[in-house]
């Protein structure tokens, strides 16, 4: 963890009647750390966020955000937390300045401070020239940036971003991810909820995988890969031989220490190993099979996610 713990959830639980939406979630996020929360729809991510913000009351457990209990001190928590909801909305008839000045006044900022912070935040998100434009003229991407400007204006110690890149084009997404890294550089703890696993992997220090209201897995992507993919070593092999793809895959699977073999198409195979087996693979394939390349593959969060839920589905059957 990067620094002092600014978000701490202990056995946080939320029930709606008989439905258990969040089930004893434990979570810690340090200052200057970006933690991704992942999971299918209805897995409890947004409910957890709402409990951390004090917008819904936990049935059990407790949380501390920026040193305050969201249940007892929601106003203090909200003064220190910037929240960007999924598909953020603004008052379309008002200008960007009027929209952000309203939330700035609600946050208790004096008028002079609002103007200064607004200009700075708008420049930072690339909306400098649009301060006086009505929000109804903004594209969804601009609205997302404006939402981030609102978070920046607050200078929060915690930023909670719920699906912030959903409506963005690839270029804007990359810019937006850069801005999220900027929050980390400011020392802000970021909780990022997203379905875009590649984006989460590219910016997050750690991830927490939600399933049916629980955090099923948490840690760095490499740690998760180790637990889900087996052994934590993923090796990409490029090879061709007379026995064909099936034969090579069979030959690889027979090597002790290899957990799984995934043909990737063409002459490429991805192998999950319990240890570094590059030398052993080269020895076992030779001389019948021509080894074109062999190297460690970076573990993909996408693979971890898909594998975890595939196994969860099979276990449930």
């Amino acid at each position: 963890m990067a620094g002092e713990v600014v978000i701490r959830a202990e056995a946080l639980t939320k029930r709606y009647g008989a439905n258990l939406a969040v089930d004893h979630v434990d979570l810690e996020v340090g200052a200057g750390e970006i933690v991704g929360i992942l999971g299918p729809n209805g897995s409890g991510k947004t409910t957890t966020i709402l409990m951390l913000l004090g917008l819904t009351e936990p049935t059990e457990g407790r949380a501390m955000v920026a040193g305050f209990d969201p249940l007892r001190d929601p106003l203090e928590v909200k003064r220190r937390v910037g929240y960007l909801p999924d598909q953020v909305g603004f008052y379309d008839g008002l200008s960007a300045l009027d929209n952000l000045a309203y939330t700035g006044r609600l946050a208790g900022l004096p008028r002079s401070e609002i103007d200064a912070r607004f200009s700075e935040a708008m420049e930072r998100v690339g909306l400098g020239p649009y301060g006086y434009a009505r929000v109804r003229t903004f594209s969804q991407g601009m609205r997302q940036r404006l939402g981030l400007a609102e978070v920046l204006m607050k200078r929060p110690s915690v930023a909670i971003l719920d699906e912030p890149t959903t409506a963005l084009d690839p270029h804007s997404t990359q810019e937006f991810l850069g801005m999220i890294r900027g929050l980390k550089a400011d020392g802000t703890a970021v909780l990022l909820s997203s379905h875009h696993l590649d984006q989460v992997q590219s910016v997050c220090d750690r991830v927490a995988l939600f399933n049916r209201g629980r955090i099923a897995l948490s840690g760095t992507v490499t740690e998760l890969a180790g637990r889900v993919l087996g052994g934590g070593h993923v090796i990409d092999v490029e090879a061709r031989g007379p026995e064909g793809a099936a034969g090579i895959a069979e030959r690889l699977a027979a090597i002790p220490g290899i957990v799984r073999v995934h043909p990737l198409g063409g002459d490429r195979y991805r192998v999950d190993c319990q240890r570094d087996l590059r030398a052993e693979i080269a020895r076992r394939l030779a001389p019948e099979v021509e080894l074109i390349g062999i190297h460690f593959a970076a573990p993909s969060l996408n693979e971890v996610y898909n594998r975890y839920f595939e196994e969860a589905r099979l276990a449930a059957q």
Binding site: L50, P85, G89, L106, G108
Partner: protein, 328 residues
């Protein structure tokens, strides 16, 4: 260290935090919004025409009544088919509904609610701020209307209103604002209950139609007959029926308001509802105006009834809103 479930924790921080900011923003939105400008323009136009014809009629019969300005509000001048108080009684609920029907559901639909509630403000403060802002906008519209009629009356009649007339007219203004408050609270309750603004507006207008058109004429006689028997008994009017019908009628904010308006603007009104007096008593009181303090005592139950109804309806809206999940 899990918190024991079922025991709500006391929240810290003032429940008023942010109310002023919400009131300022929402009032500015309403006073500059096209919707309010159009409604107010129409009402002012009708009021202007009404005041013009009323003053014309009064000028022809000046000296017949010591309460010229009160007559200005109560007479039905030719060729207009209704009086000023009828018009105010008709349009006040409509303005209140127009102000309140999308107070909360529009925030859900614009997806602004979670963003606003993520700021340091309690959701009850948001609801209360919105209500106050709308009540303030409604009050500004009604005070402007009141001043317009008063000014035009002053200009056309060439006389200032007496102190008693002014107090009675102010009382009427307060009763009208309280009446508007009931419909505003109802419209806001529907805006909390229904996510579609059109549904909320229709529900509020439907209820208004029920109370304005059908309550006194159809609903209360029917219910009173079911509860207390027929209106006419063997020995004359059925007192139980009359009493029940009156109680039922007073469940309607329109009845409470019209009772209060009549008692305030017509000083000869000595009682609201059925009165049983001897002929001797009657001969001493006919056409004698009631002192203004007595008129206020007379309308006190109606006025407090309107204010209480506003508080109860707002409290229901508050409870429903507190229980809603904020995900938009």
């Amino acid at each position: 260290m899990p918190r024991s479930s079922g025991i709500p924790a006391a929240r810290r921080g003032s429940p008023w935090t942010g109310v002023g900011t919400v009131v300022a923003k929402e009032t500015a939105d309403h006073l500059s919004g096209v919707r309010m400008v159009v409604i107010e323009a129409l009402i002012f136009l009708v009021a202007l025409v009404l005041a013009w014809f009323s003053t014309t009629t009064i000028r022809e019969t000046i000296g017949q009544s010591p309460f010229l300005f009160l007559r200005l509000l109560t007479i039905t001048p030719d060729p207009i088919p209704f009086s000023f108080i009828s018009m105010v009684g008709l349009v006040t609920p409509i303005i209140a509904i127009a102000l309140g029907f999308d107070a909360i559901n529009a925030e859900f639909n614009q997806r602004t609610l979670s963003r606003i509630l993520a700021q340091p403000i309690y959701r009850d403060a948001l609801l209360f701020g919105k209500f106050l802002a709308r009540l303030l906008s409604l009050s500004i519209a009604l005070v402007s209307l009141w001043l317009l009629v008063l000014g035009l009356g002053f200009l056309r009649l060439g006389l200032p209103p007496s102190g008693e007339e002014l107090i009675r007219m102010l009382g009427f203004l307060v009763a009208t604002i309280a009446f508007g408050g009931v419909w505003l609270a109802l419209a806001m309750l529907f805006s909390v209950l229904f996510r579609a603004p059109a549904t909320a507006a229709l529900a509020a207008l439907g209820l208004w139609l029920l109370f304005a058109l059908f309550w006194t004429v159809m609903v209360t006689p029917l219910l009173a007959t079911l509860i207390a028997g027929p209106a006419e008994g063997i020995f004359g009017p059925n007192i139980a029926y009359i009493s029940t019908e009156q109680t039922l009628q007073r469940l309607s904010p329109n009845t409470l308001y019209s009772d209060a308006a009549v008692a305030l603007l017509n000083p000869t009104t000595r009682a609201l509802g059925p009165v049983f007096v001897s002929l001797r008593e009657l001969s001493t009181m006919v056409n004698a105006p009631l002192p203004v303090s007595q008129s206020f005592i007379l309308i006190w139950p109606q006025l407090t009834g309107l204010i209480a109804a506003t508080i109860v309806i707002f409290a229901i809206a508050y409870i429903v809103f507190q229980r809603q999940e904020i995900r938009a």
